[in-house]
């Protein structure tokens, strides 16, 4: 996504300093609430023009904002699809009419709105909702409609504000597969703002961190979230985000292959009702993993995964052990242990260890 942003402001609120060129097709902005993430999105889409000393936003060689030259394209000229946290569906229109709110632009671009609509309705499973009003929808359904509306408007860049935040705790990860579907079907670049690492890890190729209106850090999601300052500030600890393909299941357990449907290491999780072959998103908290230097034969934990330590990150009071499981290069799992444990097991980079994980430590979404 060739989006370049440079904003400097001395207003003291909102955005203070942000300079970055987003290159990845799906990028994330991470930061606590009040750090200026929403202001950033609203500035990008043109809904807001904060006071700034320097302001320049360029997307695909089109200048959207140039403070020095007095250029500021209105929102309707920027070709963005903004999905705000509160969804902002039009209450007086049916879902169908909401979805078509931006069709004029799509038509002007020469898009086939009908097939665009069909694709979005299929990808987001909106078929049964078309004749309802927004107030008859749940939070998750509203979110999907807002997403569909942005897609059908022929947006060249999707801006998502906290896609998980407004959803019930139990359902919040269900939007992720939809977003992945969108990512694959529509190939529209996305910029996702969130204060939750899990969704950014699951979706983004690149993450920037914002703190008090400033760009504080950037890198790949795993790199960023394993950094000492950020890792320590994570409220619920670090979650490994992994993909699995269902292989088989018994009465109580489901077996999945991690990352690669053929070569990936197998794990067992509490039974999920998904047919063999389907893909699932797994979350695994780093502090729920035990490390063993030798195979442990008699233990209740169902998973004992042979792996290799690729990195040790020393934090105050804890050590993050980054391991690669089996032969699959993408199957990277981080475990959190105490410095004491590292000493007594004499853990070093390159050592083989077994990851001991209970089946119910995996949280499965779809």
């Amino acid at each position: 996504m060739p989006l370049s942003i440079h904003i400097e402001s001395d207003a003291g609120v909102g955005l203070a300093s942000f300079q970055h060129e987003f290159a990845a097709p799906v990028a994330g902005v991470f930061g606590p609430s009040g750090c200026g993430k929403t202001t950033l999105l609203e500035t990008i889409c043109g809904m807001r023009r904060p006071s700034m000393t320097t302001g320049r936003i360029v997307f695909n060689d089109t200048v959207w904002l140039d403070q020095a030259q007095g250029i500021c394209l209105p929102p309707e000229a920027r070709n963005v699809g903004y999905v705000p946290q509160q969804h902002l569906l039009f209450p007086h229109w049916l879902v169908r009419q909401n979805l078509l709110a931006g069709q004029k632009r799509a038509l002007a671009q020469g898009s086939d709105v009908k097939s665009l609509m069909q694709q979005a309705v299929d990808a987001l499973e909106l078929g049964d909702l078309l004749e309802r009003y927004p107030h008859q929808l749940s939070g998750g359904q509203r979110q999907r409609v807002a997403l569909g509306r942005a897609l059908i408007s022929g947006a060249k860049l999707l801006l998502l504000d906290e896609p998980l935040a407004s959803l019930d705790h139990k359902l919040r990860y269900r939007i992720i597969p939809f977003l992945q579907q969108i990512r694959e079907t529509f190939q529209v670049p996305m910029l996702i703002v969130s204060h939750q690492p899990a969704e950014l890890q699951a979706l983004c190729d690149e993450v920037v961190v914002m703190e008090q209106g400033r760009l504080a850090d950037k890198g790949s999601p795993r790199d960023v979230f394993l950094k000492s300052e950020i890792y320590s500030a994570l409220e619920d600890g670090f979650e490994n985000i992994l993909y699995g393909h269902v292989v088989s299941y018994t009465e109580t357990l489901t077996t999945l292959k991690l990352c690669d449907a053929k070569l990936g290491p197998e794990v067992q999780v509490s039974r999920i009702d998904l047919p063999a072959g389907s893909r699932a998103l797994l979350r695994l908290n780093a502090h729920e993993i035990m490390l063993a230097k030798q195979p442990v034969a008699k233990i209740s934990a169902r998973n004992r995964l042979p792996s290799r330590i690729v990195e040790l990150r020393m934090l105050p009071n804890k050590v993050i052990v980054v391991t690669q499981v089996g032969d699959c290069a993408e199957a990277i799992i981080a475990a959190e242990v105490t410095p004491d444990a590292v000493d007594s097991l004499d853990l070093k980079v390159g050592d083989g260890v077994f990851l001991v994980i209970k089946s119910n430590s995996f949280q499965v979404c779809r």
Binding site: C45, G46, M47, P74, P75, E76, R78, N79, V80, G81, Y82, P84, Q86, L88, F90, P91, H92, A101, G102, K104, R105, A106, A108, Y133, P134, H135, Q136, L137, S138, G140, Q141, R149, A150, S153, G154, L171
Partner: protein, 234 residues
């Protein structure tokens, strides 16, 4: 004597024309006042509300001063006559001035109740500011605007003081429902006064009833319908 039906029809026609003028002028002004902050906004609100609190005769007298030969809008100042005083145009002018603040206030509140975020999001979808006003803002504010128009219409129908000052009470020319009741009662024609009274009560009832109905708008809430969980599983 002017037939009662003529009095009623001309009053309705003048009040309708006044409401139309108030709607066309007041709607954009109300939207502007609801969405933008500018220097003197409070003063403008106060000035535009004055006819609500002044005695109608005071407003009528002010209009009279403005339109008199040497007034700001008089024949000698403009070089030609607007020919408003003592004509039906005077009635419409008095109606407009007296009902304008009522409409402006209701319309402004209705526009303020429309989430500006909805307008912004519609613009990010590629729609212009004007298209957004007609597609999003106006439909969402329409019940309030309709209530405001009916309110201003009823205010016009009941207008007496300012009309008497500007247009007088000339039967067959500028006599309105309100001034006809006054004339009938003064001349001792009780039957005529009673019929006019009945008509005024009936019209007033219908209009206020309509306003009440409009004032309880169909709510588009963001909260789940109470039976949501059982009817629409996620």
């Amino acid at each position: 004597m002017e037939p009662i039906i003529n009095v009623i029809l001309s009053t309705l026609a003048w009040a309708s024309l006044a409401s139309l003028i108030v709607f066309l002028l007041g709607t954009p002004l109300a939207y502007w006042m609801a969405r933008y902050d500018f220097i003197g906004k409070r003063a403008l609100i106060a000035i535009s509300s004055l006819p609500l609190v002044l005695p109608p005769t005071a407003v009528g007298y002010l209009l009279l001063l403005l339109l008199a030969d040497r007034g700001l809008l008089g024949r000698e100042t403009l070089g030609f006559s607007l020919d408003i005083l003592l004509t039906w145009k005077g009635v419409v002018l008095a109606y407009c001035v007296m009902s304008f603040p009522l409409y402006l206030r209701t319309a402004r509140v209705s526009f303020e109740a429309v989430d500006p975020g909805l307008e912004s999001i519609n613009r990010t979808l590629g729609n212009s500011r004007l298209a957004t006003f007609f597609a999003v803002t106006l439909p969402l504010a329409k019940r309030g605007l309709a209530a405001g128009i009916i309110l201003s219409f009823t205010r016009a129908m009941g207008e007496f003081g300012a009309t008497i000052m500007v247009a007088a009470n000339i039967p067959g020319k500028t006599q309105t429902l309100a001034s006809a009741i006054y004339s009938a009662q003064q001349s001792g024609d009780d039957t005529r006064a009673n019929i006019l009274l009945m008509v005024a009560i009936a019209l007033g009832f219908i209009l206020v009833y309509l306003t009440e109905w409009l004032a309880q708008p169909k709510r588009f809430t963001n909260s789940h319908a109470s039976n949501y969980a059982t009817v629409h599983p996620h």
